[in-house]
């Protein structure tokens, strides 16, 4: 079954260099999908192909059942928000928002009603006559969002819209984007390299690396059940310990003289050297009945809501994120400590 937006077999080459390869994705109406990956992974190129600014070397793009693979960008009815805002400096906020409606020759009164409606939606009703250079970065990006929405697009594309903003404004605007997307129930593709943004905003996340899709899934699934080593290490912090498989059926593994256990499936044979993965927030500094390792505290970093403790364990480094509470007894660098993690919180990768 194909979705509202369907990308099938998309491939893009620039002078023989493959930027995107074998990209298949179906997006349902009203869904919020993020493309997440490091710089150069092909996420923006894919978005630009959907927008019509680049043409795929192979594959098809269908929007609402219509093949738009080779349709011009100005004929697709897709709204786009850019990282650099791209507001027209010679126009006021109201003129910017009305631009697409003027191009569509929408009647004057309907146009101004729509502009007022969108100014209310972005909570900037008093900025209609301001010029872009009179607005803050966050306000400019809200206007860019309103301008993209003014034309009632079938699809909304956002290309790293928050990366040029301060942390606090970024958080506020992130919530604002999600609120507006839900309110309008508009199908949205969001490109970002910020995992927190992707996890917080999306119904589904597409993790990309080197032009390929690594994993597609809901944020919870992506974080807790990463399909590949890349996804595991790119999304969130990850500890990776070298271990040897002892009994794959019982989930028994060994790290030096320590016997450990995992409840997840081990696909390697007995005696195979593999990596044991676990998230820092799954590790505690308490004693437990199993999966206990001894080590020396190397650093303790206060990060506000969490405290990050780095422990050296048999030549490997393990990071433990402890929730900051007033009664937390923090170790000091050089202290001996014991760390533990539950068997269900770790998994093995080759």
């Amino acid at each position: 079954m194909s979705g509202f937006l369907s990308l099938h077999g998309i491939r893009k080459e620039f002078n023989g260099v493959v930027a995107v390869d074998t990209f298949d994705l179906d997006v349902e109406p009203g869904e919020f999908v993020s493309f997440l990956g490091p710089s150069g992974c092909g996420k923006t190129t894919t978005l630009r192909m959907v927008a019509g600014f680049e043409q795929p070397t192979a594959g098809t793009i269908r929007l609402a059942g219509k093949d738009v693979t080779y349709a011009k960008a100005n004929e697709r009815n897709i709204g786009m928000v850019f990282q650099s805002y791209a507001l027209f400096p010679n126009m006021t906020v109201a003129e910017n928002i009305a631009f697409g409606l003027r191009v569509r020759k929408e009647e004057g009164s309907a146009r101004s009603d729509r502009v007022s409606e969108l100014l209310d939606l972005i909570h900037l009703p008093d900025k209609a006559k301001s010029y872009p250079n009179e607005l803050s970065g966050g306000q400019q990006q809200r206007v860019a969002l309103a301008r993209a929405l003014a034309i009632r697009p079938q699809l909304l594309l956002l290309d790293e819209p928050l990366s040029a903003l301060d942390a606090k404004i970024r958080d506020d605007l992130r919530a604002e984007i999600r609120r507006i997307q839900r309110q309008l129930n508009i199908t949205t593709i969001y490109v970002t390299h910020d995992q927190e943004e992707a996890l917080a905003l999306s119904d589904r996340v597409v993790v990309m690396s080197k032009g390929r899709m690594e994993q597609v899934g809901e944020p919870f699934e992506i974080y807790n059940n990463p399909a590949t080593g890349f996804v595991a290490s790119f999304v969130g912090q990850l500890n990776r310990l070298p271990v040897t498989v002892e009994d794959p059926a019982l989930g028994r593994i060994r790290m030096g003289r320590n016997e450990l256990r995992t409840t997840s499936m081990i696909e390697a044979p007995t005696g195979a050297g593999v990596s044991l993965m676990m998230r820092p927030e799954e590790i505690t500094l308490d004693d437990a009945e199993e999966n206990v390792l001894e080590g020396i505290v190397e650093t303790v970093t206060f990060l506000g809501s969490i405290v990050r403790v780095q422990v050296g364990v048999e030549g490997s480094k393990v990071i433990a994120d402890l929730f900051n509470e007033r009664l937390l007894e923090l170790p000091e660098a050089g202290d001996s400590t014991r760390i533990s993690f539950p068997p269900h919180a770790c998994w093995v990768m080759a």
């Binding site: 019509g52 600014f53 100005n74 850019f82 631009f99 191009v103």
Partner: protein, 277 residues
């Protein structure tokens, strides 16, 4: 950790850091005054000479005679019209070219820059002979009548303006995010003509005016090409005046200087900080 409450040590030799700045200011003034003198003495002398048209008294008689000359206003008006036409033609050629090079063919920028610089390299007399040879015979006969020669002259002036116009427009385009603005307009449904007319041209206003006014300043007094094409423009009029009158050429020089500075002043006024667009 104890935080010291002692006052921050202050240099006792407060004069020392200012001394080099004062010396720099002194030499800056010396250079400024020398430059001003270098330019202002000849200009002052010309102005002084232009005021001596009447015996034993200073006055604006030369200017009165100049403005009442039957050929002054027609030649001046013709040059203004030629300049405006050349500016429009140049804009029509340069803006889409520079825009397309910036957007789609950045690798071609050095080639286009070289081509637009050719009017600096090719002397005007060579250019006009080339034009006459090419357009002075069928099938592209443009020198047969005064008006068709004038069209050719305007085209030549447009070519002369390329170095100034391309650089102005190119600087203007580099100062804005052309790609994002274009793509934003495209995603909103705009085609190329709308993008150029409503997004690119308005945001290039200052750059276009700079290029246009520089072109105006050059075209208004251009002599060589106009002379060879037998055009009765301001350049040949000024040259003729120099040969036949005593005081009026000086008045003319002062007027031409004022016109050029008016053009420059207009650029400065339009491009002053805080001005939109």
């Amino acid at each position: 950790m104890t935080i010291s409450t002692a006052p921050i040590p202050v240099s006792t030799d407060a004069e020392a850091p200012e001394a080099p700045a004062r010396r720099n200011r002194f030499w800056a003034w010396v250079i400024f005054i020398m430059t001003a003198v270098y330019f202002l003495i000849p200009l002052g002398a010309t102005f002084w000479w232009s005021l001596r048209a009447e015996a034993d008294k200073l006055g604006f008689e030369a200017y009165r005679r100049l403005f009442e000359d039957a050929n002054f206003w027609p030649s001046f008006t013709e040059s203004v019209v030629n300049a405006v036409a050349a500016i429009f033609l140049s804009l029509l050629i340069i803006v889409p070219t520079a825009y397309w090079v910036t957007l789609r063919l950045p690798r071609l920028r050095p080639v286009v820059e070289f081509i637009t610089l050719l009017p600096f390299v090719i002397p005007a007399v060579v250019l006009v002979f080339g034009l006459i040879r090419l357009y002075g015979r069928p099938p592209l006969l443009l020198t047969a009548t005064y008006d068709s020669s004038r069209v050719l002259l305007i085209c030549a002036y447009a070519a002369l303006s390329f170095p100034y116009m391309f650089r102005s427009v190119d600087n203007g385009l580099r100062a804005m995010d052309v790609r994002s603005l274009t793509e934003a307009a495209q995603s909103l449904g705009a085609g190329w003509p709308t993008i150029l007319r409503r997004v690119i041209f308005p945001n290039l206003r200052v750059a276009l005016l700079s290029g246009a006014l520089l072109t105006f300043a050059i075209v208004i007094g251009e002599l060589t090409i106009a002379l060879f094409m037998a055009q009765q423009t301001f350049g040949p009029y000024m040259a003729n005046l120099t040969r036949s009158k005593v005081y009026e050429p000086s008045a003319m020089a002062v007027v031409a200087f004022a016109l050029t500075w008016a053009a420059m002043g207009t650029i400065a006024l339009i491009t002053r900080p805080g001005k939109r667009g």
